[in-house]
């Protein structure tokens, strides 16, 4: 069980016992998921959190756990996720039918109005990407560059699923899944598990590693289904980002590395703009400037573990972002280490660009 494996490893990493865990947060694809997990792990937590807002759920969990710890409601919380999606279901989801209805599936609002069109999950993101291209002249090559730079990082990560270098031409030559998104514009389907532990500053000082601090967090939503996304070139990250940055006392220029939910190349591009790393409409130029700003050595090393595009994407990726940002700030990122990294941002995007959660982490408290 991937969640239990991850939980066990996180306890060992922190130097904590199971009995130290007072709160549990998790999200899966069914109700009461975190309660089921608590039972499996043999926990009887007095603080539970199960925000289930898609891939960004874990940024929301982190934000809520941070507030609860600040408020004194709970001292030590584990946030856990695992999914053996690839082993269990194979790549059938990879047909893109995930958002487009499956035989026997119920059709709750608002999907009853979307499923009959045959739109897929990839298609929803493709629609938004197309709008950005139309408004700002963003090109397929610029989107592809995100995938290429991410693969360079995956090549340095022995745990990444795909590690062979790719070029922009490779991305553009890969099968179009839903125009303008190609197969290599899409994240992988993998198994995976992840767990992090949050505790008070006092407690953290005595644990096995130098702590990494949450400095700010915020989240928000603009829509559920893609048809209700009023402006497909702007996400709720335009609100969550500035709010989290303000709490953290930082500006975009202070960020040393970026762990971004790369469900699709477009997700990265639009959120880079929304968080203020690039002016609106100039995300395409930003990612390709300077030989590739997302590379190690670029202005904003992004997804240094190889991201969802190349390393791992087990259904939801939000927690892996916080884990990679933490590795970087602890100086444990190996061949992908951003030298001297002091501020990292983990940003989750869930649903159909629907929910956005920003977490600012630092080597020092805010």
């Amino acid at each position: 069980m991937l969640e239990a494996q991850s939980f066990r490893r996180a306890l060992d990493d922190a130097g904590l016992a199971k009995s130290d865990i007072e709160g549990l947060a998790s999200a899966g694809y069914g109700g009461m998921h975190e309660v089921m997990l608590a039972e499996y792990l043999g926990l009887t937590p007095r603080w539970l959190e199960s925000s289930s807002v898609g891939g960004s759920s874990f940024e929301f969990h982190t934000m809520h756990a941070y507030r609860a710890i600040q408020n004194g409601d709970v001292d030590t919380v584990a946030i856990v996720y695992g999914n053996n999606q690839l082993s269990a279901s194979g790549r059938t989801l990879g047909t893109g039918g995930g958002g487009g209805g499956r035989a026997g599936m119920q059709m709750p609002l608002p999907m009853a109005y979307e499923f009959p069109s045959g739109l897929t999950l990839v298609g929803a993101y493709a629609t938004a990407a197309r709008r950005h291209m139309h408004q700002f002249g963003t090109t397929p090559e610029q989107l592809a560059s995100i995938s290429v730079q991410t693969r360079e990082h995956a090549a340095r990560n022995p745990s990444a699923m795909y590690r062979d270098p790719i070029t922009v031409d490779d991305v553009l030559a890969s099968k179009l899944v839903a125009d303008p998104l190609h197969k290599l514009d899409c994240c992988v389907i993998s198994d995976g598990g992840c767990a992090i532990i949050l505790t008070t500053e006092d407690r953290a000082r005595d644990l096995a590693h130098r702590p990494v601090y949450v400095r700010g967090a915020a989240g928000g939503t603009t829509h559920h289904s893609i048809a209700a996304m009023a402006d497909m070139t702007r996400t709720a990250a335009a609100v969550s980002g500035p709010k989290a940055f303000q709490e953290a006392g930082i500006s975009p220029g202070d960020v040393d590395m970026f762990a971004m939910y790369d469900s699709f190349t477009y997700t990265v591009l639009v959120v880079l703009e929304d968080l203020g790393f690039a002016p609106k409409g100039e995300g395409g130029r930003f990612v390709t400037d300077n030989g590739g700003n997302l590379r190690l050595g670029g202005a904003l090393p992004t997804n240094t573990d190889g991201g969802g595009l190349s390393a791992t994407h087990p259904g939801m990726r939000g927690l892996f972002l916080i884990c990679e940002a933490t590795r970087q700030l602890r100086g444990e990122a190996g061949d992908s280490q951003v030298e001297g990294a002091e501020i990292a941002v983990a940003h989750g995007s869930g649903g159909w660009l629907s929910t956005q959660g920003t977490v600012v982490l630092g080597t020092e408290a805010a």
Partner: protein, 148 residues
Amino acid sequence: MSFLAHNGVSWEESPKYLWPRPNDEDREFWEGARRGELRIQHCTTCGKHQHYPRFLCSHCGADTLEWITASGLATVYSFTVIRQNGVPPFSERLPFVVAVVDLDEEGARMIGAMPTVAPEDTRIGMRVRAAFRPANDESAYVDFAAAD
């Protein structure tokens, strides 16, 4: 109207799992579509429109909604070409266009397939018109076709 048929599968075939299940809130929309009318809600407080049907106005929050028959005319806000979809019957229809359109009635946006428009002929900003595709005897889906 003639549908672009791919691999011999017509858009007119609607599997039962895709049938709408109308309720008191949205029956007017589905049954209107079956009659060939695009029924949407108009808010008499703020003057805006909305789709899909709701109890209150998603723009201003008032519950002063009335049903109107929309012109069916709309402008493509964005679109994609679905080239991969493993779910029947869509898997047999590939490729096909799905568009997000802004209705001429302010505030109402819809998503729909454009089975009669070829991918290479689809543009953001193109004018389209609602087309109705029966799901069963009671309901129909709303697709979009080129306006002229």
